[in-house]
């Protein structure tokens, strides 16, 4: 049977355990307690009288706390209900587990409760095979503390476990010999403090009681406020309302405050990307502008602060480039994976300009656009100065650190993602098609910002001219007349990579597609090769590299699909947009819980159930946000001057839908929609 994993998360810290609450290393899953890309507990196993416990039920109270209700005895034993254990786990700056042992019998119970404690200090990037580390263990009986320390030169990580109840502490854990009166209970709190040496002196014990509780109360309030601030969805389809609220909750959870920001920004997602990932963060912001616009300003500010300033091969850094990812672990510090600040992405820089402009269109926040003029100009300059690698006017990428860097510096970043129809790797440097769409969009939006906010009409003209040229060139060089779609990429000599992929949907989103070609592109997106019934595959079936289980060569990503659906609506392809959106909503409906990052590309009629990939993360910011973006797209929300335009085109069968209190430059506005089918859809538009 498939192992069930249970997580709590807060900021960029998380803890993954089995259904009993126990943690033991697993080569596939980062089980344990993690913070700043480092494992702080790899072994955390509870026994009573030497026996493991069995879970009766669980209460996932919020994303940061969970209660396990347990009884001694494994699944094969008869449940002994005389004793039960409640394991209440919560996470904020530190990890707390409150153990309560209850005696339900009329006799006193003498029990030996033990927590096995250990850690390997593994970096998140080496979970499959953690290196051997020398770990110093210090037992401090007076302070009821077990401390595990790891040092490498001046780099150091400590984890300190302490107990409120008296304990016998040894190098491998804590033992509690307890007597529980009839109908009585015993309790201890285990505090686990994670110390990153040199980080502003985590004073562990002082932090423990008052402050931690204060943080938890604050977290609860913040979560409630976050949900209250977002628009309210009223839908005939109850499932949508639940899904909407869950997605908002995921987005609240998937935020953290990096060292250089006092306001939270989105992380990529659990478990592999609990850090700032430039692309994921900006796409998540774009997806959620009608719902939680507050995510965008801190993300833009932070990315501006971290903008590339110099040439550096090891970090794939150039002046003006926007960050790919921040990493905090040992592997990044010692050059065993891309550095702490890694810039290996060709799409993040245009996306920065796109997000800045789109945020202003919704919010009317002209001040931010003025403040970020310099970084936005540097980003626009980067496209031509550092992004055009062969001088043919296309945005390309080439990794300058082949040892640790990312070969494919676009959203499809797995090694074999950019290939010809026969499976050959495309030549480097690669110009993938969606990068050209983003560059085109960034230039057009940059022109608007220059004209309206930066008082620079000459620059605006220049950008518009460049954009028009790029569009013309692109439609000449990337279009494959025999196939009726755009190429995935161009090789350095201009040879097209003819593979049919979901990237063509991004082109619609960017608006670079010539109008007379939109119909052909839309037909491909809903054709049997690309559309699985659940969504658009990353790579179309019927081509050699296609693999339904390959992340970027056949599987289906809700985030990818949300941009495609928006693109289809941009070109007036309501029917195709609604079909794809309905498929993705069905994925969420069928699987339940958080929207998965990616599902297999099998045809829907073959599996009838969406098949999840083992490596897929969940929850993921841009997957949860994809659900929101699809709702906004189906309702046809669009800023138009100072007003919100509403132009619904809902999938048949979705009934009535209302989104109330949508924030923006208009104050708050409401949107109403009902499924009429695209042909019946009235031309009535509601202006606020």
């Amino acid at each position: 049977m498939k192992q069930e994993w249970v997580y709590v998360l807060a900021g960029n810290a998380f803890a993954i355990s089995d259904a009993q609450g126990d943690m033991e290393p697993d080569p596939q899953v980062p089980v344990g307690l993690f913070s700043f890309d480092t494992r702080f507990l790899s072994r955390w196993v509870l026994t009573v009288d030497g026996e493991r416990l069995k879970a009766l039920s669980r209460d996932d109270m919020s994303h940061f706390d969970t209660r396990f209700f347990l009884v001694p005895g494994t699944a094969s034993h008869y449940v002994d209900a005389d004793v039960s254990v409640i394991r209440h786990r919560s996470l904020d700056d530190s990890f707390t587990e409150r153990l309560t042992v209850l005696n339900h019998s009329a006799q006193p119970a003498e029990l030996v409760v033990r927590m096995e404690i250990g850690n390997d200090f593994a970096d998140i990037s080496e979970i499959s095979q953690p290196r051997r580390r020398d770990i110093a263990i210090d037992v401090d009986r007076a302070r009821r503390e077990l401390r595990l320390c790891y040092r490498r030169e001046r780099f150091g990580r400590d984890v300190v476990v302490s107990s409120t109840a008296p304990a016998e502490i040894d190098r491998n854990g804590m033992t509690f010999r307890i007597r529980v009166e009839p109908n009585g209970q015993w309790e201890t709190r285990l505090y686990v403090t994670m110390v990153g040496l040199g980080e502003h002196g985590h004073d562990m014990r002082a932090d423990l009681t008052t402050y931690q509780q204060h943080v938890r109360v604050r977290m609860r309030d913040e979560l409630r406020d976050w949900l209250d601030r977002a628009p309210r969805l009223v839908a005939e389809d109850d499932f949508l309302t639940t899904l909407y609220r869950d997605s908002l909750g995921d987005l609240a959870a998937l935020r953290y405050e990096p060292l250089s920001s006092t306001v939270p920004v989105p992380v990529g997602g659990l478990p592999w990307a609990m850090t700032l990932v430039g692309r994921d963060a900006m796409i998540s912001c774009l997806q959620t502008l009608p719902f939680t616009p507050e995510l965008a300003p801190p993300t833009l500010r932070l990315l501006a602060l971290l903008q590339g300033g110099r040439l550096d091969d090891e970090h794939d850094e150039e002046p003006g480039k926007i960050l790919a990812a921040l990493r905090y672990g040992e592997a990044a510090a010692f050059g065993e994976q891309p550095g702490a600040l890694y810039y290996g992405a060709a799409d993040t820089t245009p996306l920065f300009v796109i997000l800045l402009d789109e945020y202003e269109r919704w919010s009317g926040d002209a001040e931010l656009v003025r403040q970020l003029r310099h970084p936005a100009r540097m980003a626009l300059d980067w496209i031509d100065e550092y992004g055009d690698l062969t001088g043919d006017g296309y945005l390309r990428y080439l990794c300058r650190d082949p040892r640790n860097g990312t070969v494919n510096q676009c959203w499809k970043d797995s090694p074999g993602a950019i290939v010809h129809r026969d499976g050959r790797e495309a030549g480097l440097p690669r110009a993938t098609c969606e990068l050209q769409g983003y560059a085109y969009d960034a230039k057009r939006r940059g022109a608007r910002l220059a004209r309206e906010f930066w008082d620079d009409p000459a620059y605006a003209d220049q950008l518009e001219h460049q954009a028009a040229q790029l569009r013309q060139r692109f439609n000449r060089d990337f279009w494959l007349p025999q196939r009726g779609h755009y190429a995935l990429a161009l090789e350095p000599d201009g040879t097209p990579v003819e593979t049919l992929t979901s990237n063509i949907g991004h082109l619609l989103w960017s608006g670079i597609v010539d109008d007379d070609r939109a119909a052909a592109v839309a037909d491909h997106l809903v054709g049997p090769e690309l559309f699985s019934g659940w969504g658009v595959r990353t790579l179309a079936a019927g081509q050699r590299p296609y693999n339904p289980l390959g992340s970027h060569v056949g599987a289906v990503w809700p985030s990818d699909n949300s941009l495609i659906v928006a693109g289809l609506r941009r070109y007036g392809r309501e029917e195709q947009a609604a079909r794809i959106a309905a498929g993705v909503l069905d994925v969420a409906r069928t699987i339940g819980g958080s929207v998965p990052e990616v599902i297999a590309g099998y045809p829907r009629q073959l599996t009838t159930f969406p098949v999840q990939l083992p490596a897929a993360g969940r929850p993921q910011a841009w997957s949860s946000a994809a659900l929101l973006m699809m709702l906004a797209t189906l309702l046809g929300l669009e800023p138009c001057g100072e007003n919100l335009l509403v132009d619904p085109a809902l999938p048949p069968g979705s009934g009535r839908m209302e989104l109330l209190d949508i924030p923006g430059r208009w104050g708050l506005a409401d949107a109403y929609g009902r499924d009429r089918g695209p042909r019946e859809r009235s031309s009535r538009r509601r202006l606020h």
């Binding site: 040439l311 550096d312 091969d313 150039e318 702490a340 600040l341 992004g387």
Partner: protein, 130 residues
């Protein structure tokens, strides 16, 4: 380390830092930074005032918005572009106190690796491989 390389000490680097406009620095991030260069038995203090894309360098141990401390050996390597300031921080070879945002500015005041390539140059190299 002698010979044709561009290795410079942090002291030389800061002394040589002109007070001209630095168009690569954002005009909206201003503040003061102090660099404490630690040596055996003494510490050298450098004070950087960043205003409107200009960096003014003086010698002072006044309090600053951000205080950065490291051994001379480490800061020399940073000044020569041999180690990224963020890497030094992560390895705990360098510590900071104060407004962390200014650390990201400091990163831009120091040079990148001397052997770094422009991406076009790297692309030409790739072409030669083929």
């Amino acid at each position: 380390m002698w010979g044709g390389t561009t290795t410079a000490s942090v002291t030389e680097y800061l002394r040589g830092l002109g007070s001209g406009r630095r168009p690569d620095l954002p005009g909206t991030t201003n503040g003061t930074l102090r660099l404490d260069v630690r040596e055996v038995g003494s510490t050298e203090h450098w004070y950087l005032t960043v205003v409107d894309q200009h960096v003014e360098v003086t010698r002072s141990d006044d309090d600053a918005d951000l205080v950065v401390r490291a051994d001379r050996r480490v800061l020399d390597r940073i000044a020569a572009g041999r180690i990224h300031p963020a890497t030094a921080l992560m390895r705990n070879e360098l510590t900071v106190r104060g407004d962390f945002r200014l650390f990201m500015l400091l990163r831009r005041i120091f040079p990148g690796p001397p052997d770094a390539r422009h991406p076009r140059e790297a692309a030409r190299g790739e072409d030669a491989h083929r």
